[in-house]
Symmetry: D2
Subunit: 466 residues, 4 copies
Amino acid sequence: MNLNNLKLHHKLVPDNYLKLALEAQRCKEIQIKELLEKRKLPDVGWTEELIEYVIQQLAALDNNNFEHKIGLGEREARMASIINRNYGFGHGIGRSGDLLDAQPKAVGSTIVAQLSNALVLDVIRLQGIKSVKSYFIAPMATGMTLTLCLLSLKKRRPPAKYVLWSRIDQKSCFKSITTAGLTPIIIDTVKREEQDGLFTDLGKFEENLSCIDREEILCIMSTTSCFGPRNCDGIISLAGLAAKFDVPHVVNNAYGLQSTYLTHQLKQANSAGRVDLFVQSTDKNFMVPVGGAIVAGFEESSVHTVAKAYAGRASSSQSLDVLITLLCLGKIGYQDLVSQRKLNFVYLQKQLEEFAEKHHCRVIRAKANPISLALELKTLSTDVATKLGSMLFTRGVSGTRVIIKGCNKTIDGFEFADWGSHESSLDCAYLTAAVSIGLKRPEIDAFIHKLQQCWQDLEKKINKDT
Amino acid sequence: MNLNNLKLHHKLVPDNYLKLALEAQRCKEIQIKELLEKRKLPDVGWTEELIEYVIQQLAALDNNNFEHKIGLGEREARMASIINRNYGFGHGIGRSGDLLDAQPKAVGSTIVAQLSNALVLDVIRLQGIKSVKSYFIAPMATGMTLTLCLLSLKKRRPPAKYVLWSRIDQKSCFKSITTAGLTPIIIDTVKREEQDGLFTDLGKFEENLSCIDREEILCIMSTTSCFGPRNCDGIISLAGLAAKFDVPHVVNNAYGLQSTYLTHQLKQANSAGRVDLFVQSTDKNFMVPVGGAIVAGFEESSVHTVAKAYAGRASSSQSLDVLITLLCLGKIGYQDLVSQRKLNFVYLQKQLEEFAEKHHCRVIRAKANPISLALELKTLSTDVATKLGSMLFTRGVSGTRVIIKGCNKTIDGFEFADWGSHESSLDCAYLTAAVSIGLKRPEIDAFIHKLQQCWQDLEKKINKDT
Amino acid sequence: MNLNNLKLHHKLVPDNYLKLALEAQRCKEIQIKELLEKRKLPDVGWTEELIEYVIQQLAALDNNNFEHKIGLGEREARMASIINRNYGFGHGIGRSGDLLDAQPKAVGSTIVAQLSNALVLDVIRLQGIKSVKSYFIAPMATGMTLTLCLLSLKKRRPPAKYVLWSRIDQKSCFKSITTAGLTPIIIDTVKREEQDGLFTDLGKFEENLSCIDREEILCIMSTTSCFGPRNCDGIISLAGLAAKFDVPHVVNNAYGLQSTYLTHQLKQANSAGRVDLFVQSTDKNFMVPVGGAIVAGFEESSVHTVAKAYAGRASSSQSLDVLITLLCLGKIGYQDLVSQRKLNFVYLQKQLEEFAEKHHCRVIRAKANPISLALELKTLSTDVATKLGSMLFTRGVSGTRVIIKGCNKTIDGFEFADWGSHESSLDCAYLTAAVSIGLKRPEIDAFIHKLQQCWQDLEKKINKDT
Amino acid sequence: MNLNNLKLHHKLVPDNYLKLALEAQRCKEIQIKELLEKRKLPDVGWTEELIEYVIQQLAALDNNNFEHKIGLGEREARMASIINRNYGFGHGIGRSGDLLDAQPKAVGSTIVAQLSNALVLDVIRLQGIKSVKSYFIAPMATGMTLTLCLLSLKKRRPPAKYVLWSRIDQKSCFKSITTAGLTPIIIDTVKREEQDGLFTDLGKFEENLSCIDREEILCIMSTTSCFGPRNCDGIISLAGLAAKFDVPHVVNNAYGLQSTYLTHQLKQANSAGRVDLFVQSTDKNFMVPVGGAIVAGFEESSVHTVAKAYAGRASSSQSLDVLITLLCLGKIGYQDLVSQRKLNFVYLQKQLEEFAEKHHCRVIRAKANPISLALELKTLSTDVATKLGSMLFTRGVSGTRVIIKGCNKTIDGFEFADWGSHESSLDCAYLTAAVSIGLKRPEIDAFIHKLQQCWQDLEKKINKDT
């Protein structure tokens, strides 16, 4: 609405009043111009009004929102619902050949997709990985996106069938391999004498790389962010091995983008060796609804191959949520969240250690895990430890996990001893708790409070029973 | 808000007034009760207010929307955005083990997912496929969902590598095979003497099934809805072959749910032989934004295997859009759309035939294609036909395609002669136009008008040039 | 957002795609330009998106929505609520001196006020009163607005104290006189031998005008739209008397704007004599929430005096609702509503007459009342008639009124015999029902159905009792 | 939606999950129950979701939102607009006889009206006026509401015609008298030797009360909140005079509810003498859009008479905005705003005094004005002072006023010397600035900064010119 060019009757509003009001709009226009021309995350988050305005204007550029559209195809982004939660975006993103292609029917959706990609790049760089070259938001959860990455590698290495996988007991990650029709070679994590926590078994990796035909190895798959006391994989060393043996290396960085410690590992790994792709969740790192992941890499071609492998146009919902959220936060807002998280981690650790001291247990110090903490439950029987977990959930604490001995599991034909522990010889039960971006300090206090209550209740019950 | 149980001060409102007003709410409560208890599509579409009310109440059941939540996990559905286009739904659907599992943190999202699945079932049955047993909404476009189906079959038939594919020149469909790491055996469609249009080369299928090791064949992949003059594949015969040779049969029913002719073919195919899975797009059949597909089948196990193959929790965005839209439409609303589409198809055919008569061309009568029509452009050179296509697009007509001779294309290493024509020996150029659900009669009129204008302009230009 | 002037990176979207999409926006820009420059009701109603867009852009012109506002006054339109149902409009309209003045702090609110006034003018003219000169939306219900009109006349005629009022038994209308501190001279309506219905007692008016000191008469107050069987006042004759005796004439045209018969009376009255002001409700004529009225007149000065009399800035809520609604409807939409209403009136009359024939009662033919019908209830006792009214209300019929004999009432010290009947000698009970703009045909059917049910129930009960 | 009573299929969601989720809803239900049963402002503000939920549920109780309504009246709250900014509320509040009556067609609107009145009472008491008895939100700006108060007094004292008015140069306040058809007796404010600022001329009041026939005096009208350096009127003494001479006393407390100093004056005045009605703006005290006022008093009857004087049903827009806003803020939120305002006042005073010291002017210490400050501009000529005012406005500072000598004005026939100064013998120009509820500290800093800039620019210009 270009009021500047309109000739308004003085009865509608006097010229001099209007002039002042129009001048006051200029800073918004500059904000929009900067965003669209420079494609950078704004320093300060935008107002709701400004975000909605831009989103609505972009939606108007999709042809299903044109006043006089004539659609004679099988897919014309017509929408039957009277509830407009999608701003009129219906065409999805990309073309069937390539997720990153512009969609001629949907100029607005295309801009949303490209712009959200560009802002995500800004965040990745902000978090320290300056050398990232290519990246895009995939409209699938992290697990399926890892599957897509593996399938795209498979297209380039048809005879390969093995994925060397540093064990992480998170189902989606493992299933991403079997769903791709590949065979995982599971390498359990190991303990070290001198340090707490679980570490990558680098020896086993080298052994496997040496004895399996290189052509048959699709890639190494490692993980950064994980449940304590498992540490971030030794991805710098793994990258070295990948380079040495010339096999691809895919990193599952699920919620690692929020931690500068983990992004630093990624950056170093790329300098020291080979990292082909690293994948992270949009919901875990950007506080949007579940459903998207970011594929990134240090070379244009490897990432683009993934985008091309996606069969069909894709949902624009995930890109839109990321775009809205990053504009809401701005650079400063995101960095604030990142630093608060760090402080919260230290705070939770302190609280848990005080608790541990009181109750004769201990917090495992896995130094290479900056997000998730583990509290060893040495004094509790398996049953009682399990009970503790369910009591916490019933009392409104979600996200903690209790890991116990002897819980074996078979997934897609592969057996895991002590499922949940990332190793096959768990010593004793423990409880994990993670400090994610967006967690509020009072939640930590409430958690410690509930933990104490449950502990006391359990103790009372045990004393009564004995 | 259970006002029935409140003791309101008479100053707030007199009792007798309130009583009458509360009675008037009962029919809404009954509508909600019926929906949630019976899980059936309501006959008449709901009002916007009622839909939003139910959606909001369901969202309140997800734990991220609880007043006192304590989230100590890495994924707690926190949302940073001030713009609430997701009603507070953030947890996605399913668990990492299974898309169809209830998510304990997200009771509302779980209900949304299961309820939208249930309503979709109703539509499938309404459209005539009464014997359908299992079904779910996958949060990926049709192409990627086909990939997931193939990968899930591969899990059960590890040595298989070939997909016998009746050629359809739509990129996503073909890519769904190569992305799955499988090898397509491309079987061109063929013409018949006595009938117009292109048909499945059943002989070639039988030949291939006979000479390739059955163990190495993953499945037959056929297509129902397609661009004219290609007909719906002979899926009844293909189902027979699948049964005879005991190989799975996957049907790409992309936009076929909207046509009772095509759903009838599916039903018959299942009676006559073997159909393991059939996949259709949510956007093309339900007028929601691009991004979801429905996997359905006649046996519980085959469909459930697909749901289990999805690695990770998935976006609930697609289920939510389907739920909202189906509640909007109701049974009557959906059936109206279906019948209008049929009438529109007849109307477009008549208009095109009148046009054809005037301009010495003809409409190809592909009787087994109830959605898309092809207008042969015998009198136009390849260049002029191409020009016609781009003129139409520039004038606001989207969705039509001009297919010309000699347009060869290589996709993922496979060569296609006369890409776009579903065969390798195209006679002459043609223009396709599809009549989809939601198309409005005036769009057809406007299309014919624009077609006439462009044709005249081209004729003038040709006469001038010569 | 002037995308035309932006230099977008080709990665964001290709230039040629963008160009087509921007061209498609032009018709919206033209719609907006025409509205703001010509200040006329558009022929066709606008889409929700376009209306919200314009409203939001206007709101951005109010200084409370400026990015960098510095407010050091006592009223700066700050808003504490997180729920934005007012689009950020907070300053109200006008200045303390004059409702029609532009507000320098609130350019957007000023445009909303002036534009809604201008569109209202268009409707008044559309409805046939082409000679209207001045008009504005007052943010008060019709009754209080009539009070304001009387007070503004009083400012010009300080010694005057009497209002000659043609009795209409609607409380607000009467109270508008007493609240203004004036003394009503109540002139009952009368029956005529030759015609059905109640008529203005023109003789009494002339008598009063002749014998009271002209200086002491503030004005004549007449009413057009009213409950049957009262007819529209003889405003043409009253206007003649007003001119003859040189006293002002105020017409209560509450819901008369929706009827071209009544607007025609107004037009004729102005030609034939004197009409100073006519007042109508925004909700009854434009289907907006209760709360506003339109003051209109045939001379600039008389109307402007009313606007100046309003003490203080006023709510812009009413203007905003009128603006949104008129843009929604457009000229064609409003005229459709008007003609449907006429047809509905004829339909209800026919239905009621059929009912009357069956049940030995009759519909009173008040020819100068085109909106409200009266059904004589000769066969019912007063108690039974009263019962009928409450039964209808309990069964969901609202708006009908049952008028019975002997219901006397005192308002502000004035006594009314047979309150509700507009006369002091009611013959027998009757039921009124009105056909307003927006009434749907099925409501009429449902009403007749309920009426029949109630009648039968009553008959049964009477027979049982006797 | 009473999920508690539904029998959900386990496929929709497992019972145990649902149970936990439903338990989590209880605290919301308790919040709603408490609000509706106790009719008190909640301590902590509600979430947007909860507020909207309650509003929507209330709107559903109005008969225009019933599924099967049959409306045969002239006013049935039908709404033509597709944009629902009113939640479906259309009936307005009250009945034509009384604004405070329940509206049988609109149970929800009635609750909104009564509930917002009840919450307002809570705020009035919270601010210290515990003895308040009666109160309601009038849907008109403060000025018109004062007019309505005067008219309602006039109904009880028909022969009265004079209003003894302590001069306050704010147009609406004065017009409220003349619009009511009454004659103001203007009593200029006066200076005192010992104290800064302007004071009520109590002597003149007593003089007038003594010599005018008591029957002819309608009331005393005083003002609390006002532009500095005018002080709050000596309402305690005026209340004493009102009691002594037995005349009503109306207090214009426009933006005084936000200051506990001023509410304390009111409370004291009532104890010490007579206060019939006090009126305050909803927008100025509650940060809602312009358009409403609160009429309050210490006796039921006087306030109720005002409510009954309003002719017709009224807009519910104002009540709805107040309800939403007060629920947003809660008791704590409102009290925070009140204390921040006090601190901001002290801060601005300090900043202005520092400025004054630097620039050889002074801040006038009107101790009985806790909201607005005046900066004497002794060194500036009238022209330059005027220029300063307009420079500030152009630079985005709104709300400040520059008062200069010799600015005489006639309003409705009454002449005011030195308009703007509340007296007839202004010494020198000054600038006022007010600290209202909701003002942000950075606005004060920005104001002082702009003031310095303008001052410097003016000095430069003066030096250059001389």
